[in-house]
């Protein structure tokens, strides 16, 4: 241990990141800014029964209920500072005060991530490498760009994921499972890494000495997960709105590729289709043209293919799960926390490569867990970052 005191690195890391992030306030923000502003006003002004029905803005609420509650809490804060931000009809409202207030909430919510990282370093007895990993994650350009320029709350969400991993590292399995369930109810994209958690807990339960212990372990885990999900979705089940909620959460009407392609398998597939259309037309076989206009037209819509098969959502899930199997097998054989981190990262990568309607931002899903592995002696991990 060098001359680096615990308090020194904690305070300075936070101070440095604060300066970095505050200075990004005036930078460009994407439509996600308006999306979240709209959600603030939905949760502030409407009754819970209308949250998933409201469609004044095209950016309807499409995150699970916990995130809506999170927006609800933020909207109470924002209302105190600038009431105009949380008006439903104030579409595309982005005055300087609105942007500054809204961006401050991102920094505020990142305290969860910060706390999780301090805890992570504590678990590793504040070794130099754990401190460096914490600093790298907290100052990661991914968060700087996606959260503090583009505008999202990934820092907060990954904070919960890291908390969950922290608990797994400490062998507090139930807390870990509960936190992961909470995370899923904040943003369901994390369902892509759920297989890793599922296999991890299942395999761990089977490693217990007696069947009774295995069973009670599984029941406890199941209780954690199910009760949290019930708290989240219970009100909507009670109001008989689940169909509407699910259609908002899983909009399969959106295309195979996002308006801005993520660099994944389907991007190559689409390119291959283009090339084939070109070849077909060149040989004058048939006229495939106007209908298959442009897949990069910037509007979220369906993707049709000219020559190759149209891809159905279910196929992408099957392919994703298949590509996750190697990681899961390894985890099944050896259900220890480090392998879990490996598998989470691997599952994130698989989903990025083969998932349905993947955003380019989803790269964080496997990138952030991968930071954990920097300190392990796998020579190639650093190349990804």
């Amino acid at each position: 241990m060098a001359n680096l005191k615990n308090s020194v690195w904690i305070v300075s890391l936070f101070a440095v990141s604060l300066v970095f992030k505050v200075l990004l306030f005036p930078s460009y923000h994407s439509t996600d800014f308006e999306v979240h502003r709209n959600w603030l006003s939905i949760t502030k002004n409407l009754n819970i029964s209308q949250w998933y029905f409201e469609d004044t803005s095209e950016w309807t609420l499409d995150y699970p209920p916990f995130f809506a509650w999170f927006e609800y809490i933020l909207s109470q804060l924002v209302f105190l500072i600038d009431p105009n931000v949380v008006k439903l009809e104030n579409l595309n409202y982005d005055t300087q005060s609105c942007v500054y207030v809204h961006r401050s909430t991102v920094i505020l919510s990142e305290l969860i991530l910060f706390w999780a990282l301090i805890r992570f370093a504590n678990i590793h007895k504040n070794s130099i490498s754990s401190i460096i990993i914490s600093a790298l994650v907290f100052l990661s350009p991914g968060f700087l760009i996606v959260d503090h320029v583009h505008f999202q709350y990934n820092g907060f969400l990954f904070g919960i994921l890291i908390w969950s991993i922290n608990f797994a590292l400490e062998n507090k399995d139930f807390a870990s499972a509960a936190l992961f369930a909470i995370l899923l109810n904040f943003k369901h994209i994390f369902v892509y890494i759920a297989p890793a958690y599922f296999v991890y807990f299942l395999s761990r339960s089977l490693k217990k000495p007696t069947y009774l212990q295995s069973l009670s372990y599984l029941i406890k885990i199941g209780f954690c997960v199910i009760s949290i999900t019930l708290i989240s979705f219970g009100p909507f089940i009670y109001m008989n709105q689940m169909k509407q909620v699910l259609s908002r959460l899983f909009p399969f009407k959106r295309g195979l590729t996002h308006a801005y392609w993520a660099p994944n398998f389907w991007a190559l597939y689409t390119v291959a289709d283009r090339v084939l259309i070109f070849i077909y037309n060149a040989f004058g076989k048939m006229g495939i043209s106007s209908e298959i206009a442009s897949n990069t037209r910037g509007i979220v819509g369906n993707t049709n293919f000219g020559v190759l098969y149209d891809i159905k959502p279910s196929w992408t899930f099957i392919i994703t799960i298949l590509s996750q199997i190697p990681f899961l097998l390894k985890l099944w054989a050896n259900p220890v926390p480090n392998t879990l981190v490996w598998a989470i990262s691997g599952c994130g990568l698989s989903s990025f490569l083969f998932g349905w309607h993947v955003h380019e931002k989803a790269v964080l899903l496997f990138l952030i867990p991968l930071w954990y592995l920097v300190s392990y002696p796998f020579p190639f991990t650093s190349y990804f970052l």
């Binding site: 305070v11 604060l18 300066v19 200075l23």
Partner: protein, 469 residues
């Protein structure tokens, strides 16, 4: 340069000098006394900055230090540049940004004999020729990218995202071409025998020093920077010159010619500095350290005009509503001070703090409050804040000074936000700000005079200490 380094190195460590019995410098003794005095102060203070560099050293990553410093200084410059600039969207005259853009326009389109005569009422060129040539260069590049940015007359008040990007980039580019190499060269020479961490900290401070960044990259100005940057370069060139090997003669000549070209148009600060150090160097009486100290001393002398300016400013705002922007003139003083950070940690910290504070009214008009608070906070944190401050090792006087200054600044900002000034005293806040800053600057003027005198005639105690050592 490589040739020159070896004798200096042997000088720097007394042990090797004793062993070999070399005395390479006629004034070796007094040189050492200052060295020792400095080094007792330089023993890693409990400061976040020194901790960071010694951490890098302990991790065998010393080579990364300068890269981190450069990246950070680039990031700060670029992100402060995201903010608004002086005179944004305020026709018909706009502000300093428009002045610089306008100069690019006229220098590029007009023959040089018209530069100082063309429509002087609209931001007539009133900077020395080097700035004009610099504007010409920028105007030339701007014209290549998009002629609309610098079209003669038609482009007045032109503002677009791309042109702002270009203008910001030119500032940063010249920062990295002139100012930053100058600082690094100077400090490498000036602190050649200091501890590695101190040297790195000394380089770090002037590069991230917020007063400069806020004015150049926020408010928008290039010239002050070029001036000071080149004067820094000149000084370092002169200081380097005795050790530059013959193969680098050409390099040296380029630098030598530079001050003559510039000297004619430089203001007194830089002139005095350069001339004095040249004379002293020729006589070969003083060491490098002393020279720099003297330079700092005379810069301190030269504070006086800028302070008088501020007095005039006070009087003027009292009588009329004419607002002449003299806040920026403090930059002239701030820069040399920040070069002396390692020797004068505490004064430097407070001085820069107050000088940033004195620029607040200007920055507030430019809508750069966010950048102001962020960078001021960063400065306070890096250089002086609890729990990494010098409170343990430094006396009560400094603790109290620091507390009073910080408390006043805090109080002033709260009052500024909460209270609307009474109608008979509309400029009460600007006035109180300037008065307070002026008072602090005066104090520093005396302090630095005292330090300079002390360095010329070091007290006998330190000499006797050396002997016992």
């Amino acid at each position: 340069m490589l040739k020159g380094k070896s004798p200096r190195k042997s000088l720097s460590s007394p042990k090797t000098a004793k062993k070999s019995g070399q005395i390479t410098h006629p004034n070796n003794h007094s040189n050492k006394s200052i060295k020792t005095k400095l080094s007792t102060k330089l023993e890693n203070p409990q400061n976040i900055l020194f901790s960071w560099f010694s951490f890098l050293q302990s991790q065998n990553s010393a080579h990364l230090a300068i890269i981190f410093t450069l990246i950070l200084s680039f990031y700060l410059r670029w992100t402060v540049g995201l903010g608004s600039f002086s005179g944004e969207k305020t026709p018909p005259m706009h502000g300093d940004y428009e002045a610089q853009r306008h100069w690019m326009e006229i220098t590029f389109h007009l023959p040089s004999n018209q530069w100082y005569f063309y429509d002087l009422k609209y931001w007539g060129l009133d900077y020395p020729p080097l700035t004009a040539f610099h504007s010409y260069l920028c105007g030339f590049v701007a014209n290549l990218i998009n002629p609309k940015w610098v079209e003669l007359d038609a482009s007045r008040g032109f503002e677009s995202y791309e042109s702002k990007l270009f203008m910001r980039a030119t500032v940063i580019l010249f920062d990295f071409l002139v100012y930053i190499p100058g600082v690094i060269l100077f400090l490498n020479k000036y602190l050649h025998s200091a501890k590695w961490t101190s040297k790195q900290a000394a380089i770090f401070i002037p590069l991230i020093q917020p007063a400069l960044i806020l004015i150049d990259n926020g408010h928008f100005q290039i010239s002050n920077l070029v001036k000071i940057g080149s004067s820094v370069l000149i000084t370092s060139a002169i200081m380097l010159s005795p050790w530059i090997s013959s193969t680098e003669q050409l390099y040296q000549i380029a630098f030598r010619v530079f001050p003559f070209a510039r000297g004619l148009f430089e203001d007194k600060v830089a002139n005095l500095w350069c001339v004095l150090s040249v004379v002293v160097k020729l006589k070969n009486i003083f060491s490098v350290d002393q020279l720099a100290k003297m330079a700092a001393g005379f810069t301190a002398l030269a504070f006086l005009p800028s302070n008088l300016f501020m007095v005039f400013y006070l009087l003027k705002t009292k009588e009329s509503h004419e607002k002449k922007v003299h806040e920026k003139s403090i930059l002239l003083a701030v820069l040399p001070i920040s070069l002396l950070f390692v020797d004068e940690v505490f004064p430097c910290s407070i001085f820069v703090q107050v000088s940033i504070f004195s620029m607040y009214p200007l920055l507030q008009r430019d809508n750069l409050e966010l950048q102001y608070f962020a960078t001021l906070g960063m400065w306070i944190f890096i250089t002086s804040l609890f729990p990494f401050s010098y409170m343990g090792s430094y006396g009560y006087l400094k603790v109290i000074t620091s507390a009073v200054v910080s408390f006043f600044i805090l109080l002033w900002h709260i009052a500024f936000k909460v209270i609307t000034p009474p109608s008979n005293l509309p400029h009460i806040f600007e006035l109180s700000n300037a008065t307070f800053s002026f008072g602090v600057f005066c104090l520093f003027y005396f302090y630095f005079s005292y330090r300079t005198i002390q360095l010329f005639w070091p007290p006998s105690t330190s000499a006797s200490k050396i002997k016992t050592n």
